[in-house]
C-alpha cells in the first residue's frame, strides 16, 4: 500500500499555504435516469478489433449513449467485449483524423497541409497513373488490416494490381494457417473453428484467451470451464487461462515443439490415439510413429522443464476426452521462426486425437452463399505479390508484409507506391523502423487511410481521414461460423469532421483513375441491398434486425466413419508432408533448442491486455481510462537482483541495441525469473495521439533478433532478450 506522506500537518504549523477548495456553490438537481429520453438504435458490426461482433448503437436524444451486443449474433452472443463496449470512444476521440492532409515543403521543411478532398484525390490519382504508365499498375501495393481494406483491394484490382499484404498473415496467424493447411488442407479460420463449448479437454499453448478478447473464443472457453472441461495451459507465464487450468505447464520458452512431440510420443506409445480416424483419414502415421519415438517424456523434460509424469498425465487427459479435445491452434503464432512446424505439430496432435471436424474438437464452418454485386472482370495483373520476393517462402498463401517492405527499398525497387489502410506498420512489424524509413525514401507515393493518426501517418505523402465504423457502410459480414449468418454495419451518425467512408474514398479515386465501371453504385447501400436481396433479405430488413441467421446446408461435424476428401495433394490429412519435403523442409516437425538467454538478459515475452486491440485503441478515451499504459512484469527475484521497485519506471534495451521508452515495473510472481512480459500496443510516439503518446513502451522496438520462418515468411518475435535501464527520475519522457 502506497502511503500518502504526512504533509497535512505542515499546514497547521503555518509553513505552507493551504489552498482551500474552491467555493463550490453550483448545486445539482437530480439528473434524469439513463434511457428516459428518446432512445433509438442502429445495427453495427464492431470494428474495435477484427472479430467483427454485431451490435446495436443506442442513441438517447440524438447523442451516442452506448453500444451493446446483438442477441442473435454468434460472434458476440449478445455481449460485446471491453473494447466493443468502449466503441463510443472511437467516435468521440478528439484526436481523430479530420481533414485530408498533403505533405508539402515549406521553407525547406516538410510538413502536412490540410487540403480539400479534390486536391488530395487528384494528387493520388496522378501519382498512381504515373506508376502505372512507367512501371505498371502492379507496382502499387496495398498494405491493409480490417474489413474496410476490401474497398481499397477492389480499387487496386480494378487498377490492375493484385499486390497486397496484411500483417495478420506474416506477423500473426500466417504460420498457424499454413501449418493447418499443410496438414488438413484448410486453415484454422477466423473466427477459429474450435468447438470449445462442447470440449471435454482444451489445450492452450501460449494462447492467452481472456487476455485477448476474441469474443466467441472467450465465451466458449468460459462455457467449457462451466462444464468442468479439463483445461491444460502451456505458458511460461501464469496467464489468465493458466489461472483457470487444471494443469498449468510453465514451460521453458521456445521448447513447445519438444512438448508436442513428447505428447505425440505418449499418445502413440500408449495407443491413446483414435485408431479408426487415423487409419481412415491420414497418411504418414508410420513415419510419424518412428519420428516421435525418440521424443520420450524423459527427454522432453530436459528441454522443456515439464516433468515426465505431467507430460504423460496430460497426454492421457487429452486421449481420454478425445475426440472432444481441442489442442488450440492459437492465433498470433509468429514466435520463433519455426512456427509453421509448431503449428503443424498442433494440427497433427489434433489429427491423432481425431478432433478435426468432430464434436468437441473442431467444427466445419459455413458461410452464407451470397452472390457478389455484378461487376466487370478485373484486368489480369502480370505479376503477383510473391514475385516481389521470388524464391522466398514457398508456402506463403498470402502477401508477406515484410517482403513487400523490403521490395520497396532502393531506386530499382519492385514497388513504387503504397496504399496503407488501417495498419500502423511501425508498431506492427518487428524492428522495421529503419526499413520503413528507407522504403519511404524510395517510394513515389505513400497514401495512408485511417481514422486515427499514428506513426505510419508520419511516412505518408497523403493522409485520408476515414470515418469510424459508426459512420459508414461496409460490406455485409459473412464469415464462416457454426451457422451461416449475415450482419450489417451501417452509419449511426453522419461522418464527423471531413472524414469519409472507405467505400466513398475508393469510388472517388476509382473515378479519378477512369475506373467508373467498377464503382456503379451511387451509395454503397445500393450494392449491399442488391446482394442481400439475392439471399432473400434486404437492406431494409437488415437495418431492422442487424443480424440474420441462416440454416446450415451441410453437417457441422464429420458423420461417423464417412469417407472424406481433404484439400491436400494426397486428399488425406498429411501427418507426413511430401509438400514440405519436396521444397527441402522437414516433412515432420523437428525440435531445435532455442537460443539460451544471455547472462544479465531476460527473454522478452509480450501479449495482449483485454482493454486494447494493440495500438489501435490506446488513444480511445474510454479505454485509455481503463488501461492508460502497459506494465512490465518482473519476477520478484529479478526485481531484487536489479533493485527494481514496484511502480518504478525503467527502459529496456535489447541485446542488439534496441531501446524502449519508459515502462512501469510490476513486480509479480505471475512471471518466471527468466522472462519479462509486457502487453503490445503502447509506447506511441505520435504527438497527435494526445492521450497515449509516450505512455508505456513498445515491444516491437526491442525486437532486434527476428527469426523469419523459411516456409511462409512469418516474423518470429519471441527470440529477443532485454535488460533494464534504470531511469533517474520517473516522469516525463526523457
Amino acid at each position: 500500500m502506497k502511503r500518502r506522506e504526512f504533509i497535512k500537518l505542515s499546514s497547521l504549523l503555518g509553513t505552507s499555504a493551504v489552498a482551500g477548495p474552491a467555493l463550490m456553490l453550483g448545486g445539482c438537481a437530480n439528473k434524469p435516469l439513463p434511457g428516459t429520453g428518446v432512445v433509438s438504435k442502429t445495427p453495427t458490426v464492431c470494428d474495435m478489433c477484427f472479430w467483427k461482433c454485431a451490435g446495436d448503437v443506442y442513441k438517447e436524444d440524438g447523442e451516442l449513449w452506448k453500444i451493446t451486443g446483438n442477441e442473435d449474433d454468434l460472434h458476440s452472443g449478445g455481449r460485446l467485449c471491453t473494447r466493443g463496449t468502449g466503441g463510443p470512444g472511437a467516435y468521440l476521440d478528439p484526436d481523430r483524423l479530420k481533414k485530408p492532409l498533403l505533405r508539402v515543403t515549406v521553407d525547406g521543411r516538410q510538413t502536412f497541409r490540410e487540403v480539400s478532398w479534390d486536391e488530395a484525390l487528384q494528387f493520388i490519382a496522378a501519382k498512381m497513373q504515373g506508376i502505372a504508365d512507367t512501371v505498371g499498375p502492379e507496382r502499387m501495393a496495398l498494405l491493409h488490416h480490417g474489413a474496410g481494406g476490401h474497398h481499397f483491394l477492389h480499387l487496386l484490382r480494378a487498377f490492375g494490381s493484385n499486390s497486397h499484404a496484411e500483417p495478420a498473415f506474416a506477423q500473426c496467424r500466417g504460420p498457424r494457417d499454413v501449418g493447418f493447411r499443410l496438414t488438413f488442407g484448410e486453415p484454422a479460420s477466423s473466427p477459429e473453428r474450435t468447438d470449445m463449448a462442447n470440449a471435454r479437454c482444451i489445450v492452450l499453448l501460449g494462447s492467452h484467451i481472456g487476455e485477448n478478447l476474441h469474443n466467441a473464443q472467450v465465451q466458449t472457453l468460459a462455457a467449457a470451464i462451466n462444464k468442468d472441461a479439463t483445461l491444460i495451459t502451456v505458458d511460461p507465464r501464469f496467464s489468465v487461462p493458466a489461472g483457470k487450468s487444471k494443469h498449468w505447464l510453465p514451460i521453458k520458452p521456445g521448447t513447445d515443439i519438444a512438448l508436442l512431440l513428447g505428447w505425440m510420443n505418449v499418445i502413440i506409445e500408449e495407443e491413446l490415439y483414435d485408431r479408426d480416424y487415423v487409419e481412415r483419414y491420414t497418411i504418414g502415421f508410420e513415419q510419424l510413429s518412428d519420428h516421435v519415438r525418440q521424443y520420450t517424456p524423459e527427454w522432453v523434460f530436459l528441454e522443456t522443464g515439464i516433468r515426465p509424469d505431467v507430460i504423460r498425465e496430460t497426454a492421457r487427459e487429452m486421449g481420454k476426452a478425445a475426440p472432444a479435445t481441442v489442442v488450440h491452434p492459437g492465433r498470433h503464432a509468429a514466435w520463433y521462426g519455426d512456427d509453421t512446424q509448431r503449428s503443424r505439430a498442433i494440427a497433427m496432435l489434433n489429427a491423432l486425437l481425431g478432433s478435426w471436424n468432430r464434436k468437441g474438437g473442431f467444427y466445419i464452418p459455413e458461410k452464407v452463399d451470397m452472390p457478389h454485386f455484378p461487376l466487370p472482370k478485373y484486368p489480369k495483373p502480370s505479376v503477383q505479390t510473391g514475385d516481389a520476393y521470388p524464391g522466398k517462402w514457398p508456402f506463403a498463401s498470402q502477401g508477406v508484409t515484410n517482403g513487400v517492405i523490403e521490395a520497396s527499398i532502393g531506386e530499382d525497387a519492385f514497388f513504387k507506391g503504397w496504399m496503407v489502410y488501417g495498419t500502423n506498420l511501425p508498431q506492427t512489424i518487428p524492428g522495421v523502423a529503419t526499413k520503413l524509413r528507407a522504403a519511404a525514401d524510395s517510394l513515389d507515393l505513400v497514401v495512408v487511410i485511417d481514422t486515427m493518426p499514428s506513426e505510419i501517418t508520419g511516412y505518408a505523402d497523403v493522409i485520408l481521414p476515414e470515418c469510424t465504423y459508426l459512420e459508414r457502410y461496409d460490406d455485409v459480414r459473412n464469415s464462416g461460423e457454426r451457422h451461416p449468418s449475415l450482419a450489417l454495419r451501417m452509419p449511426a451518425f453522419e461522418p464527423k469532421y471531413e472524414s469519409k467512408p472507405g467505400w466513398w474514398i475508393a469510388k472517388q479515386l476509382g473515378e479519378q483513375l477512369g475506373l467508373h465501371k467498377y464503382f456503379p453504385w451511387e451509395d454503397y447501400a445500393d450494392k449491399i441491398d442488391w446482394e442481400l436481396q439475392q439471399v432473400g433479405s434486404s437492406l431494409e430488413e437488415m437495418q431492422r434486425i442487424g443480424v440474420k441467421n441462416f440454416p446450415r446446408k451441410g453437417p457441422l461435424y464429420f458423420r461417423e466413419g464417412e469417407p472424406k476428401r481433404f484439400f491436400t495433394p494426397s486428399r488425406k490429412i498429411e501427418l507426413y508432408s511430401k509438400q514440405l519435403a519436396a521444397k527441402g523442409f522437414d516433412p515432420m516437425p523437428v525440435y531445435t533448442a532455442p537460443e539460451p538467454v544471455p547472462h544479465g538478459y531476460y527473454r522478452l515475452n509480450y501479449g495482449r491486455m483485454p482493454a486494447h486491440t494493440f495500438g489501435k485503441t490506446t488513444n480511445n478515451p474510454l479505454l485509455f481510462e481503463l488501461a492508460p499504459e502497459n506494465q512490465l512484469w518482473v519476477n520478484p527475484l529479478v526485481a531484487n537482483e536489479h533493485r527494481l521497485e514496484n511502480g518504478e519506471y525503467v527502459k529496456l534495451a535489447s541485446r542488439e541495441g534496441g531501446l524502449s521508452s519508459k515502462i512501469r515495473v510490476r513486480v509479480t510472481e505471475r512471471i518466471g525469473p527468466d522472462s519479462v512480459f509486457m502487453a503490445h500496443g503502447f509506447g506511441h510516439k505520435s504527438k497527435r495521439l494526445r492521450l497515449t503518446a509516450g505512455a508505456g513502451a513498445d515491444d516491437s522496438e526491442l525486437m532486434t533478433n527476428v527469426k523469419i520462418d523459411p516456409i511462409m515468411g512469418g516474423t518470429g518475435m519471441r527470440g529477443n532478450f532485454v535488460t533494464f535501464i534504470k531511469e533517474q527520475a520517473a516522469g516525463g519522457e526523457s
Binding site: 445539482c28 434511457g35 481510462e625 510472481e669 518466471g672
Partner: protein
C-alpha cells in the same frame, strides 16, 4: 424488503474490465471516475500460484453504514430494497458516507459536488433487466437477481456453489457474492 444480490463467478472472471466500461457508458459516469473496478489477487510463489479476479462495486449491504451515517438522508434505500442510492438534492457533499464504507469503495465524487455511486442500475432493474455490467460480461460470470426468490439464478448459485463475500466481519452484510 426485496434483497437484490450480485453473484460473480471468480472461476470464469478474466478481469477484462468490460463491466467497468459498460457502467461508464450506460450511466454517463463522468470522465476519470468509476463506479466499479477490477481487483486481481495473486498468491503463492512461481510456479505454485493462484490468481483470482473480482469485479467489485458497492455491495448494497443489508446493513449499510453509509446510510446510517448520512446526516441528511441523501443516502437511502430505493423502494424498500437493499439498493443504496444517493439523492443529489439532499447531498451536502460532507463525505461521511465515503468514510463510512468499509469497502472503500462504493462512493465517488461527482464533479458537481455530490456523491455518486453504483445504483445496481435500478433504472434497468425496474424494467426487469440485469445491470449493465452483468448483461455485457463476455464470460457470463456475473449474475443478478433477488435472494427472496428461492428459484432465482442467484439463489440457486448460492445454494449449490461455494461462495464468499468481502470482509464479512464488517457486519455490513454485503450483497455482492463471489463464487469460488
Amino acid at each position: 424488503m426485496t434483497r437484490f444480490a450480485m453473484v460473480i463467478d471468480t472461476r470464469t472472471c478474466i478481469g477484462c474490465g468490460d463491466c467497468v466500461v459498460a457502467c461508464k457508458t450506460e450511466n454517463h459516469v463522468p470522465e476519470g471516475l468509476n463506479r466499479d473496478w477490477v481487483v486481481e489477487a495473486t498468491s503463492g510463489t512461481y510456479p505454485d500460484l493462484k490468481t483470482e479476479f473480482r469485479s467489485e462495486r458497492c455491495n448494497h449491504c443489508s446493513n449499510p453504514t453509509c446510510v446510517t451515517l448520512c446526516p441528511t438522508g441523501a443516502s437511502h434505500l430505493w423502494n424498500d430494497t437493499n439498493i443504496v442510492l444517493v439523492e443529489p438534492e439532499k447531498c451536502t457533499g460532507c463525505k461521511a458516507c465515503i468514510a463510512a464504507c468499509p469497502y472503500d469503495a462504493r462512493l465517488v465524487m461527482h464533479p458537481d459536488g455530490y456523491i455518486d455511486k453504483c445504483t445496481f442500475c435500478h433504472h434497468r432493474v425496474e424494467k426487469g433487466l440485469d445491470p449493465a455490467c452483468v448483461s455485457t460480461c463476455p464470460t457470463g460470470c456475473m449474475h443478478f437477481g433477488s435472494l427472496d426468490d428461492p428459484n432465482s439464478e442467484v439463489s440457486k448459485l448460492l445454494k449449490t456453489r461455494e461462495h464468499k463475500v468481502l470482509n464479512p466481519e464488517t457486519g455490513n452484510e454485503p450483497n455482492v457474492y463471489y463464487l469460488i
